[in-house]
Symmetry: C2
């Protein structure tokens, strides 16, 4: 076994993210302790670490519950993502290497291809890769970390805009425009376009949340 605390942390985190432990569910320390096979003290530390990532909520004398978010909170987080990703794209436009630009274009072309063949899972994966390249080029590790914390939090809500009719083609076009702005190494344009992109994701979820959440 890895370090007990790390193991317990990952054990609980996995089950929150895959939906085994649902929002608002109580997380009993003794039960987890027996189930995972580490002491209650260690479970408690793992829970504290999860609280840090906003995946659980700890109330005085009441213990931990899986954190649940209202639609408004989810939209707030997407608004934050909008400006943070804008910042990252702006920085990336100024410092992206030729190699990274080639990689980005390659990913984009694959996205085009997969979408044409309606392979949505792979499209989503490439989407993630596309944005990751921008993060890597951005040189603001602190902002990247914040974006990742937000993305992790929202993971279990399955905000799959890819399932909304017509959204895919729009999304692809937005990526093309982002790619162009980065190729032009135009910081203001890159920021504007990625903000519009994330803004559209937000609006799609605002409109279709009944299907998605």
């Amino acid at each position: 076994m890895t370090r007990p605390m790390e193991y317990a942390y990952q054990f609980i985190k996995d089950r929150i993210l895959d939906g085994t432990y649902r929002p608002s569910q109580k997380l009993n320390e003794s039960d987890l302790s027996k189930l995972i096979g580490v002491s209650r003290n260690t479970v408690k530390k793992a829970l504290l670490k999860l609280e840090r990532e906003n995946l659980v909520e700890i109330e005085e004398n009441k213990g931990a519950t899986v954190k649940s978010h209202t639609l408004d909170e989810i939209l707030n987080y997407l608004e934050i993502r909008e400006v943070l990703e804008g910042l990252l794209a702006r920085r990336a436009a100024a410092s992206i290497t030729d190699g990274q630009l080639r990689e980005l274009q390659e990913v984009y072309l694959q996205m085009e291809d997969h979408l044409k063949n309606n392979r949505l899972d792979e499209y989503s994966n490439l989407n993630r890769k596309f944005h990751q390249i921008i993060y890597d080029a951005s040189e603001n590790r602190q902002a990247v970390e914040m974006v990742n914390v937000i993305k992790t939090q929202l993971l279990r809500y399955h905000l799959r805009t890819v399932l909304v009719p017509g959204r895919n083609q729009e999304s692809l076009e937005e990526h093309r425009q982002i790619l162009e702005a980065l190729q032009a190494r135009d910081p203001a344009l890159a920021e504007e376009r990625i903000r519009r992109h994330v803004g559209n994701i937000r609006q799609t979820i605002q409109t279709h949340h009944q299907i998605l959440v």
Copy 2:
């Protein structure tokens, strides 16, 4: 005594923020346990909570140290503040009440007054109040929390741009422009102006860090 863990947490946090515990300093669990009068387990939990706020760093088998930041990291955080405060001002412009606008104007006039009389401490306090009113009006609690975490982290570096010659008058003028944009309830303008304001703070620190840090 309040709850031991809360007490230990605040005890250590205070000393990090006031500079008693300096960046990179080792935080020994047994020593803290004896000093604060709580068990080592409780110290450990307090340290985990502080890690969450980026005030301490915990390394496997090496324990906790007071987190230290490079100038680049500080500038990264200010860049994040720039876009987050921009977001908050944009939202505030759309939802600020008449009462809050009056309060904001009142604070601005006092700032003018204190600056004229060179009362810099009070100017700083009002500055904080000015921005707090915008946060309150913004209706994005998640973003406000992030800004506050960043501000707390940077507190102990004493980024007092107020000490840079000529910066004060500039700062006052920027606040006037922000106030105007909010009075006009113009989201895009409010965002642009507060971004310029925080951007100027960042540039001032980039230029004068040798005096300030």
